[in-house]
Amino acid sequence: MAARTTSAKREKLFSDLVVNGALFLLVLLWTIPTIGLLVSSFRDQFDIATSGWWTILPHREWVTVDSIEPPRDAPRDQPVEVGGVSATFDEFRAGIQTPDGRQLQWIGNRRLGNVEVQEQRWTTRTDFTLENYQNVLTGKRYEVTQPDGGVAVEQGRDMSGAFLNSLTVTIPATVIPILIAAFAAYGFAWMNFPGRRMLFIMVVALLVVPLQLSLVPILRDYVRLDLNGTFLAIWLAHTGFGLPLATYLLYNYISGLPRDILESAFIDGASHFTIFTRLILPLSVPALASFAIFQFLWTWNDYLVALVFIGAKPDTQVVTMRLADIVGSRGNDWHLLTAGAFISMVLPLVVFFSLQRFFVRGLLAGSVKG
């Protein structure tokens, strides 16, 4: 009996180990990309471009311990002797390993370069800097040589303006659809009017319509109304695209509220408007919050709608567009890209982690946009 319990215990321990081990591996796989970006964003421009971010971890690397001046006048294809090793220049360039575990490498050209003696040592590259963030937030400084020979310093475009634009787009684009949808949900749930069923069927049908279908006609309307590139235009666009789901979700929630609360309020002589603002809105806070998180993440992370309706206007560019611009135009400015990407992610991540409970609740209620 005792033996059986210990073997069962051992089995349990083993399965625990397998489960947690597998889970740990998956979590590692899922987080490594983001960790890589976070680490890189604090690394020096030169380091980012020449070594992987994982070199901040202890690793063995060739480290220069000594430098020898080679004979300068040896012919190119003849072996020369440096540090007790005889080899040609090209062999030295590639690096030669000596029996005592060192490496000799010719750094620089044949006439002026030196031979460096390197040893394998445990090292870490941990010289972190905030410079990338400074560059991205305040605009990188470019030194431009003028035609007359003088040097002028020009400030590149920064990301803090785009950050502010994103906020200006996102906050109303989150609140407006919720307000409109809450009114409509109340109307559908507690009021009687002709066409109620047909109109709600329209809401359901529009749930999955791809927004690509609307971009072009709406853009034409905006051009005609001279609205293109304004905040109002993009708020309304996000409102339109988020509204079917918002109305549907809030209807499900509001129609499920107990009927007697409303009836007693009616008997007390309250109007629909009072009931809605004083009673229904406060009661619906959980549903409002979960949709708000979704809408916030969608509008903050949106790229296509901004691309179409804000277009090339630099004044009103949002962070995703700025970031995509940096990817496109300065694909090699890795250091700007890392910090920029992280800045664009900070706010959604904070919202996400602090309000995850509501987010999950919204997902389970069916927050899936078309």
């Binding site: 979590v27 307000l179 009021m191 304004t230 339109g240 970031l323 990817v327 991540l349």
Partner: protein, 373 residues
Amino acid sequence: MQQLTELEARPTSPLAWVISNVGRVLISLFVPILTFVVLWQGFLFLRDSNAPKIVIAIVAIIWGVGGVALLYLVSNWLIEQLSPAWTSRLQPFVFVGPAIAILAWYLAIPTVRTLWISLLNNNSTEFVGLQNYINILFNDRSMITALRNNLLWIIFGATFSVIFGLLIAVLADRSRFETIAKSLIFMPMAISMVGAGVIWNFIYEVRQAGDPQIGLLNALWVGVGGEPQAWTSLLQPWNNLFLIVIVIWLQAGFAMVLFSAAIKGIPGEILEASRVDGATEIQVFFRIMIPYIMGTIITVGTTILIFTLKIFDIVWVMTGGQFDTHVIATQFYRQYFTNRNFGFGSAIAILLLIGVIPVMIYNLKQFSEREAF
């Protein structure tokens, strides 16, 4: 309120009746006009002002949010000035009207307009019937590549998101570290696809052979003795799969959350009973869990399917559609906004609509089966 209107309805003298009514009409006209003027001034300020950015941002937020609230308040106030019968007749439209108007303007009518444009030629001057659709399906090689790629996205993206989501949900359900593990896997949901593109650029970056690799995948690949590869560009057609990995990374967390909730909904007795009867964990998983949560699997699968059908940002940021990585949505953007082929672009958008119509019909069927409405 009601009593007040009744009192006013019984005037003492004709003159007083006229005065009180004229006064009410005037106020009823004055309030909306004032509202309109205030909102219009705000709009002009936002459009033309050169104020510091932060000021504009704050004014814009207050104007936008406050403006919508004000419109509701004023229109409701107006309706309540009418007789009770008219108030209750019109009030529903104050509540529902704005939502319906926006839905009609932004989604319902544009669908019809896009359908119409797709039947016209490229600068919308001539009716060409189904010619654009024929061109998409038979005459444009890059379009056929895009359709093939989109099929890859749908199949691999949806399948692997579901598989990983399920795997993680099952593992996390039996682990002590459930909360933190789920949070970390879920996290990419908060990251924009543009941001995800940057993150994965760091994984896929390639340097010349001999130089130190700064992309993780190539570092590992070279570490086991391979030649550095340009994963997302030159490695055709596999480069599409390397892009699809990104969407799996983004969506597996979503699948996991739904599966996790579904698994917790399986009654404990059923699992207990089958284990007592000697079923192995593998059998429990395939014979009991999977059938039990099949509904959720279909929902999640469909959702990710729709998501991958419309995929745009990742491809646009990572490759711009080069190296045979175009998908339907990027072709739409390129044809419409770059090449200005209005008819052709609209026809591509209609293809997306056709792709989601089965889901739309399913939703409508579900809705009509609901008795309560």
